[in-house]
Structures are given as structure tokens and as C-alpha cells.
């Protein structure tokens, strides 16, 4: 099974993933990356932060950059709604 490394770049800097994971293919790696991003965002929101400026970089077994997933592409945000005056 191919090996992938997941590097997290966000407001706190770079967290590089030394070990990586074995996953069946790139599509699975992409799905796992998105799950991971959502989980991080979910935890940060509990503390009042919604930081969409980060990105997750997936590198292949040789260390080459294969996929870049910006945080803001991992979720959709429906914005402000203005009500008529009550």
C-alpha cells in the first residue's frame, strides 16, 4: 500500500508528520485529510476560533508534494443573513 505524509500548515505554524500512514490510494488520502481538517476546526471552534487560513499538504512516499487542501475548501460556510427589523 502506498505511503502518505500529512503536513499541517495553520496559524500555529507547520506540524510535519514524520511517520505518515499507509492508505490504499490518493483518493483515500484526500478523504482522510479532509476528515482531519474538519476535526481540527471542530475542536478549535469550541474555543471560539474558526481559522480557515490553514492548509494540509499530502506528500507521497518519496516526500514529494502530491496534494494541497486548503482549510477553506474542506467545508462550506453559509454566511450572514439579515432579518427585517423585528
Amino acid at each position: 500500500m502506498p505511503h502518505f505524509f500529512f503536513d499541517l500548515h495553520n496559524g500555529l505554524g507547520l506540524v510535519s508528520n514524520e511517520e505518515g500512514r499507509e492508505l490504499p490510494d490518493l483518493e483515500t488520502a484526500r478523504r482522510e485529510a479532509i476528515k482531519g481538517i474538519r476535526s481540527i476546526i471542530s475542536a478549535e471552534v469550541e474555543k471560539g476560533e474558526l481559522d480557515l487560513t490553514g492548509r494540509l499538504v499530502v506528500r507521497d512516499g518519496d516526500g514529494a508534494e502530491t496534494l494541497v487542501i486548503p482549510f477553506h475548501e474542506s467545508l462550506t460556510i453559509v454566511g450572514r443573513w439579515t432579518a427585517p427589523a423585528a
Binding site: E46, G48, E49, G54, V78, A83
Partner: protein
């Protein structure tokens, strides 16, 4: 016991609080409202769909709105790009 009702608004729709909650102070109300918003946004993030257009209206027993929170104001939102 003073009951406050937390109604969730989403554009035209409203989800009414059927029970109410006993809260003692404005600070407690503000804190509870914030926790509510963050709890919902947090869970929705796991699913990848966040609605910042929600609004929480807190009403007292007479129906008067004593506090309001737009979800967008419940979190400090950062967009833009992290430098390379």
C-alpha cells in the same frame, strides 16, 4: 426560578425551545448562548457544513428578547492565506 427560552432562527425558520432554562444573570445568559452557538458550529464542522447565518434569540417568560447572538459573532473568523 426565572426561565429563559433559547430559540434558533435561520432565515424564515425558527426552532422553538420547548423547555426553557433557569439562569440567574445576564452573564450566565451570555455564556450559555455562546456555548450553544459554538457547540452547533463545532459539530457542523465535523460534517463540513457550517451555517453562520443562524441566530439565537433568548426570550424571557413574557416573550421579550433579552439577548441575541448571530453565529458569525460567536467565533473569531479568519480567512486569507497563511504565507508559504
Amino acid at each position: 426560578m426565572t426561565l429563559y427560552y433559547f430559540h434558533l432562527r435561520d432565515g424564515e425558520d425558527i426552532l422553538l425551545d420547548p423547555e426553557g432554562r433557569d439562569l440567574g444573570s445576564m452573564e450566565a445568559i451570555r455564556e450559555a448562548t455562546l456555548r450553544e452557538a459554538r457547540s452547533i458550529i463545532s459539530s457542523d464542522s465535523l460534517e463540513g457544513k457550517v451555517k453562520l447565518s443562524y441566530r439565537l434569540d433568548v426570550e424571557d417568560e413574557s416573550g421579550k428578547v433579552v439577548h441575541r447572538l448571530q453565529f458569525e459573532d460567536a467565533v473569531s473568523l479568519q480567512r486569507g492565506r497563511v504565507p508559504e
